[in-house]
């Protein structure tokens, strides 16, 4: 059984990392044609990339959009998770249905409907619309992450704080929040990552804002060039870094407050 598990995991990792590995490989390949056999090692594509202002501007735009998305989606996810974890919530199933909605509705349909709403309301598309739409789509994820930790907290700690005369805000600030800080951090990084990874929403709502994914997509339709590979490897590296930092925050929580059961991402 142990060997079967090892083989399964090896195959799964190979499947998940195959495309990424191939991309990285070609970003160091001398030939401009992305075909095998490989031609030899070069850093030229990275050098070319550093001179490509369109890509660099796109990257800055994507980064600037992803920050408010991360912060807002973590904040709204925190509110939603606190409400979900409270026993006094009426209309729970309606609230859950609303929370699942942005996940269930195809992004194309949702974005087009939002674009129609903006148009009808006389509002323009652009960075604000993009940030709002990306935040909405991230909310189901951020809520799940925070709620998964919140429901496993020991309720006696909050009760004790209240019995000792703490106001609800003090209880939250001094007792609850320190225990879920890691999950809120992880939610923020998920928001940032979903924003950076998005193309569909940007296609319909970005207006004249040009995030990196849109620039890459327009290149993609014309031709495949290895500096695009280099670009992707850089983006992947940065994404990996964000994942790593998010995971670091999530793990740190365990040191402060050991949970009865291990981490899960499930409400």
């Amino acid at each position: 059984m142990k060997r079967a598990a090892a083989i399964t995991l090896t195959l799964a990792v190979a499947f998940f990392y195959l495309p990424i590995a191939v991309l990285s490989l070609f970003s160091f390949n001398r030939s401009a044609l992305m075909t095998f056999p490989l031609d030899g090692f070069t850093l030229d594509w990275y050098r070319e990339l550093s001179g490509n202002t369109a890509f660099l501007n796109g990257f800055v735009t994507s980064f600037l959009v992803s920050q408010p998305v991360g912060i807002l989606s973590a904040l709204i996810g925190l509110l939603a998770a606190l409400a979900l974890a409270s026993p006094g919530l009426r209309g729970r199933s309606v609230f859950i249905a609303l929370l699942v909605l942005p996940f269930l509705v195809p992004k194309t349909v949702l974005s087009i409907a939002q674009a129609m709403l903006l148009n009808w309301a006389g509002l323009g598309r652009g960075a604000t619309a993009l940030i709002a739409a990306q935040t909405l789509v991230a909310i189901p994820f951020t809520t799940t992450i925070i709620a998964a930790v919140l429901v496993r907290l020991d309720p006696r700690l909050e009760e004790a704080a209240r019995d000792l005369g703490a106001t609800p805000w003090q209880t939250f600030r001094r007792v609850t929040f320190p225990q879920i800080r890691g999950a809120v951090g992880a939610a923020y990084s998920i928001g940032v990552i979903l924003s950076l990874a998005d193309l569909t929403i940007s296609m319909f709502l970005a207006g004249r804002t040009q995030p990196l994914s849109l620039i890459v997509a327009s290149q993609f339709r014309r031709e495949l060039k290895p500096d695009l590979n280099a670009m992707q490897v850089v983006v992947l590296f940065l994404t990996g870094l964000i994942v790593f930092i998010g995971e670091y925050f999530r793990r740190r929580r365990r040191v402060h407050a050991p949970a009865p059961r291990k981490e899960t991402a499930h409400v």
Binding site: K2, A4, A5, A6, T8, L9, V13, P19, I20, V22, L23, M34, T35, F36, P37, I76, L79, A80, L82, A83, A85, S86, G88, L89, R90, G91, F95, L98, L99, L101, P102, L104, V105, P106, T108, V109, L110, I112, A113, Q114, M116, L117, L136, I139, P168, L196, A197, D198, L199, T200, S213, V216, L224, L228, Q232, V235, L236, T239, K262, T264
Partner: protein
């Protein structure tokens, strides 16, 4: 210190935002679907016209496209269930310290951009890509396999790639909740591994399977970019049709009617599928037995 407000009230601003950002646009679709378009002035004319819905219901192309999206969704969900169980079981069998790491390794590729994944698969599956070169070099084939890229096969493969973690995670969490002694008891009583899986593990993990099927179906059936950039001539989806009607054709009423029809069909399919799985023998025992 008595406050009339409790934490449950935090749901109100969130629900309001979700209503404004998600539900209101969808309601607006309903309104627009009965409007008409003045094609000369390129403006929508408020009306109460069944025109868009009549087109939607009489032209077979729309039903065909929605059916295709459902098939992509169902096909991917079934593939992901078959691929997801072994992976989830393997993660569950790891030592506790490795489980968290395994889930991070599993999730990281998910965070790469939509376009990056599509682009990478094109290099892997192209006629001079990794798979074909490798197979030719090994002498297995003598001409590049044509079905690898720009076919329904490609679409299913990449949709599976995009959605598999959404299947593995809930199944894995379900497995963690199963009392291992039940499986051991089955084995001790002489059940073969496959038999023990089918009679004990599978029924007890149906909640996870149900969540996984729901998520994978919704994601795969609603994906526009993968079919349109990798599916070749087969890659027209209801979503790309909506995109065309909305952008190029400026037929917002028909785009709205098609969007709503698609949503209704997808929601119905996802609900029925999850419901069927939860009615499997044993699934109800899970809920009766304390999972709330």
């Amino acid at each position: 210190m008595k406050l009339p407000l409790s934490r449950a009230h935090l749901a109100i601003p969130v629900a309001f935002l979700l209503f404004l950002g998600c539900l209101l646009p969808l309601i607006l679709l309903l309104v627009f679907s009965v409007f008409t378009v003045d094609m000369d002035a390129f403006v929508m004319v408020p009306a109460f016209s069944p025109q868009a819905w009549a087109q939607m219901l009489t032209k077979p192309v729309f039903a065909f496209l929605i059916g295709k999206a459902v098939m992509f969704g169902l096909g991917t969900a079934v593939l992901a269930a078959f691929a997801g169980y072994p992976v989830a079981l393997a993660i569950a069998s790891l030592a506790p310290a490795w489980k968290g790491i395994a889930s991070v390794i599993l999730l990281t590729p998910l965070y790469t951009g939509e376009i990056v994944r599509i682009y990478a698969w094109r290099i892997v599956l192209g006629s001079e890509g990794l798979v074909n070169t490798l197979l030719m070099w090994l002498g297995v084939i003598h001409a590049p396999l044509k079905f690898l890229l720009f076919t329904p096969f490609t679409t299913h493969l990449v949709l599976l790639y995009n959605t598999l973690p959404f299947m593995v995670l809930p199944i894995w969490l379900s497995i963690e909740l199963v009392d291992r002694r039940l499986i051991e008891a089955a084995r001790d009583l002489g059940a073969r591994p496959l038999h023990a899986f089918l009679r004990v593990t599978l029924p007890l993990t149906t909640p996870g399977l149900s969540v996984g099927l729901f998520a994978v179906f919704a994601l795969a059936a609603g994906d526009m970019l993968t079919p349109s950039l990798l599916g070749g001539p087969s890659g027209v989806t209801p979503m790309s049709m909506i995109d065309n009607l909305f952008g190029t054709a400026f037929d917002w009423p028909l785009a709205s009617a098609l969007s709503l029809s698609l949503l209704l069909v997808l929601l119905a399919c996802a609900t029925v599928m999850s419901w069927l799985v939860l009615r499997l023998k044993g699934a109800r025992a899970v809920f009766r037995g304390g999972m709330r």
